[in-house]
């Protein structure tokens, strides 16, 4: 059975399209979830004091910085994709969406390298609460990278044939959020000793 969208979906009382509105509401709820995570970080850190910082000194700042750079670049690509989609240049939009995906992949590769190195050197999940938190937070973030990547890939398939061009912007908003979470995690986990 083909699904028919109801009239409600296309109504626009606020002047913001329904998809865009919903993604902002989704992000609001995500912000609180990550807010909770950061609150736990602060409380645990206050609780543990200097021991926390000593553990944090073993993270790979260079890899983290490279990943920050990769994610910021990917955000730039998705903005270009959005711009191309606005001008109805499908080919260019898809190209920039794939470049975003390439960055996402690069991010995950660097992250996987870090995990491998750390685990093989004894910095595992159980070693201390810092490492427990490090793996939990980066893993939740990485799962958002993967989810955002899948969403962009699906949207790109539609964009090729001019279907739901507004999805580029919706994905873009989400992608910026994924980027922004990393901007918080990077200093908390890598720089703050």
């Amino acid at each position: 059975m083909a699904f028919q969208a109801p009239v409600a979906t296309d109504r626009c009382n606020t002047g913001i399209s329904t998809g865009k509105l919903a993604i902002w509401i989704l992000l609001a709820s995500e912000i609180v979830i990550f807010g909770g995570l950061v609150a736990v970080y602060l409380l645990l850190r206050l609780h543990e004091g200097a021991a926390w910082g000593a553990e944090a000194a073993h993270t790979n700042v260079v890899a983290g910085a490279i990943n920050t750079f990769i994610l910021l670049t990917s955000s730039f690509f998705i903005v270009l994709a959005h711009q191309a989609a606005e001008q109805d240049d499908r080919k260019k939009a898809v190209k920039f969406m794939y470049l975003t995906l390439l960055c996402a992949l690069g991010f995950l590769v660097v992250k996987a390298y870090e995990y491998t190195y750390e685990i093989s050197h004894g910095y595992t999940w159980f070693r201390s609460n810092f490492w427990g938190f490090y793996y939990t937070a980066t893993f939740i973030h990485a799962s958002h990278v993967i989810a955002g990547g899948i969403a962009i890939f699906i949207a790109a398939q539609g964009v090729k044939v001019g279907y739901h061009m507004n999805r580029v912007e919706v994905c873009g908003i989400y992608w910026h959020f994924v980027d922004l979470v990393w901007i918080f995690l990077f200093p908390l986990l890598y720089i703050a000793k």
Binding site: M1, F3, Q4, A5, P6, V7, A8, T9, R11, C12, N13, T14, I16, T18, L21, A22, I25, L26, A28, S29, E30, I31, V32, I33, F34, G35, G36, L37, A39, V40, L43, L44, H47, E48, A51, W125, F126, S128, N129, G132, F133, T136, I140
Partner: protein, 567 residues
């Protein structure tokens, strides 16, 4: 089955929208059917949670005796029963019935839309909820049994299998609750996007019926309060399964962190449940008083203030957790302060009644019952909000009776106000009034007799969450035991009266008098479409000309003025 046959005979599938049995009842996208799925799941879980209460109340009244329909209760089972009773009543009854069912049913109807903006997301929301229900119930069958660490799931008890004795049940419990939260977050996105974007032409923000406003405020509050708990629950799940020590002191963790995350959600959660109920009560009061609601805008703004305040009262649950006394003073002040906006809303609802032509139909009785009984819960809450008294009262049955005097009026009285009010819209038939009144009075009187003894038992020092009081001679006197038996007997009477409702529900659904579109002569758009509304709700999508509460307007022949009726 006939539906399937009819569809296959129907011929041309492409030209019009055909529904099979599966698409209609198993995987519907129609907001009304999803609402019914939530409502029915909620009612079934209400019976399950009620049965658990029956078992542990029987154990308290007749310790060690074999409970009819269950058998003997041991300590671990008792703990699992009270934990799951609370979890089910809050997450699997109050949330699906009051927010998901009424929200799904009422929002599109009341704002004049044909469905939610994301029908498939809505379907996904119920499916996740259904899976969470199964996980919660299957936990009873795994080795070690269901989780018994109380619905607050405080670590370190909850975070290690060797502490709580339920190494599989505890993670399953956390997973079930987490999935349930995900389901309601998805539903909430849908509710808010629908209300913000899909109102009928002409309906301004201040023309939205109060109940829709309140459901949205509740959803927003849920969204803002549950986030930290989601993060906290992930860490708890890792403590349980992977073996990290975020909340385990021996591993360097801090159990109080979880308490903060839990109650930052747990307290607003009470308001998440209360707010939509007050909306339902407001709709019913204005309809049956035949009078415009008093102070529509003030009610809405006051509720927004209440919602914000409810985010800063959480630590009153932790006065006995060893928090800094200076912090306790601050939370005492905010806790007691929150009664001011709620009192204002009460005054405005009473002002709505003043001078109205009040009809005491069954929904109105439930609405009045809700307001009256909730007052007891609210007023005892002021005592508990004061940290000095709370330190004595917190772990005895006084606090339990207080809690049930807030949640029972909200979930049960408010829920039944809503069910009896919208029953004609749900099924196109009227409920039997006499049976409805028997159910109301029987339940109300027995409800009070269950919990009033618990106030007294609590003040005399009866600790809660204890399986068998015979180990505590001070609180195991004949006088104590008599009150326990009295409360349990009242509960059995309460259960007996619920069968009146079950009978009335099914009898009226099949053979009650036909309701017509608008049996209560109400103004809101949900009553201006057929009962039950067809797929797509309105034959022609309505246009709105005025606010929802224009009752008894001077100079008009009829005492109501539907929102979509041209001037």
């Amino acid at each position: 089955m006939t539906t399937i046959a009819a569809t296959h005979d129907g011929g041309d599938h492409a030209s019009h929208h055909e529904e099979t049995f599966v698409s209609k009842y198993i995987f519907p996208t129609d907001h009304k059917r999803i609402a019914m799925q939530y409502l029915m799941t909620g009612l079934v879980m209400f019976a399950v949670g009620g049965f658990m209460a029956y078992v542990f109340r029987m154990q308290l009244a007749y310790p060690g005796a074999s409970v009819p329909l269950f058998g003997e209760v041991d300590a671990a089972t008792y703990n699992a029963l009270i934990t799951n009773h609370a979890t089910i009543m809050i997450f699997w009854v109050a949330m699906p019935m009051l927010i998901a069912a009424f929200g799904n049913y009422l929002i599109p109807l009341m704002i004049g839309a044909d469905d939610m903006v994301f029908p498939r997301l809505n379907r996904l929301s119920y499916q996740i909820f259904f899976i969470s229900t199964i996980i919660l119930m299957v936990a009873w069958l795994v080795p070690g049994g269901a989780f018994g660490g109380s619905w607050t799931s405080y670590p370190p008890l909850s975070s290690r299998g060797e502490f709580n004795g339920t190494p599989i049940g505890a993670p399953m419990w956390v997973l079930a609750v987490a999935l349930e939260i995900v389901a309601f977050l998805l539903g909430g996105i849908n509710f808010m996007a629908t209300t913000m974007n899909s109102r009928a032409p002409g309906m301004k923000m201040m023309d939205i019926p109060i109940v829709v406003w309140f459901i949205n405020i509740a959803v927003l509050l849920f969204m803002f309060s549950v986030g930290p708990l989601v993060a906290g629950a992930v860490l708890l799940l890792l403590d349980q399964t992977v073996g990290t020590s975020f909340y385990v002191p021996t591993g360097g963790g801090d159990p109080v962190i979880f308490q903060h995350l839990f109650w930052f959600f747990g307290h607003p959660e009470v308001y998440v449940i209360l707010i939509p109920e007050l909306g339902i009560v407001a709709e019913i009061i204005t309809t049956f008083a035949r009078k415009k609601i008093f102070g529509y805008r003030i009610i809405i703004w006051t509720m927004i203030v209440t919602g914000i305040l409810s985010l800063v009262v959480w630590a009153h649950h932790q006065f006995i957790a060893g928090i800094d006394p200076r912090m306790a003073v601050i939370f005492s002040i905010t806790t007691i302060m929150i009664s001011i906006p709620l009192a204002l809303i009460y005054m405005l609802l009473i002002a709505t009644l003043y001078g109205g032509s009040i009809e005491f139909k069954v929904p109105m009785l439930w609405a009045m019952g809700m307001m009256t009984e909730f007052l007891v819960g609210g007023l005892t809450g002021i005592y508990l909000g004061s940290s000095a008294i709370d330190i004595y009262m917190h772990d005895n049955t006084f606090v339990m009776a207080h809690f049930h005097y807030t949640l029972m009026p909200v979930v049960f009285f408010g829920g039944w106000a809503g069910i009896t009010f919208w029953f004609p819209k749900f099924f196109g038939r009227m409920l039997n009034e006499t049976l409805g009144k028997i159910h109301f009075w029987g339940s109300t009187i027995s409800f009070n007799f269950i919990f009033i003894p618990l106030f007294f038992l609590g003040m005399s020092g009866q600790q809660r969450k204890i399986f068998d009081y015979s180990a505590f001679p001070d609180i195991n006197t004949a006088a104590h035991q008599d009150l326990r038996v009295f409360a349990t007997t009242a509960f059995l009477v309460f259960i007996a009266f619920q069968f009146v409702f079950v009978f009335n529900f099914f009898k009226s659904m099949m053979s009650g008098p036909v309701a017509g579109n608008n049996p209560w002569n109400s103004n809101t758009l949900d009553w201006q479409c057929p009962s039950p509304p067809p797929h797509g709700n309105f034959a022609e999508l309505p246009t709105v000309y005025r606010g929802p509460y224009e009752y008894s307007v001077p100079g008009r022949e009829s005492d109501f003025w539907p929102q979509n009726e041209p001037a």
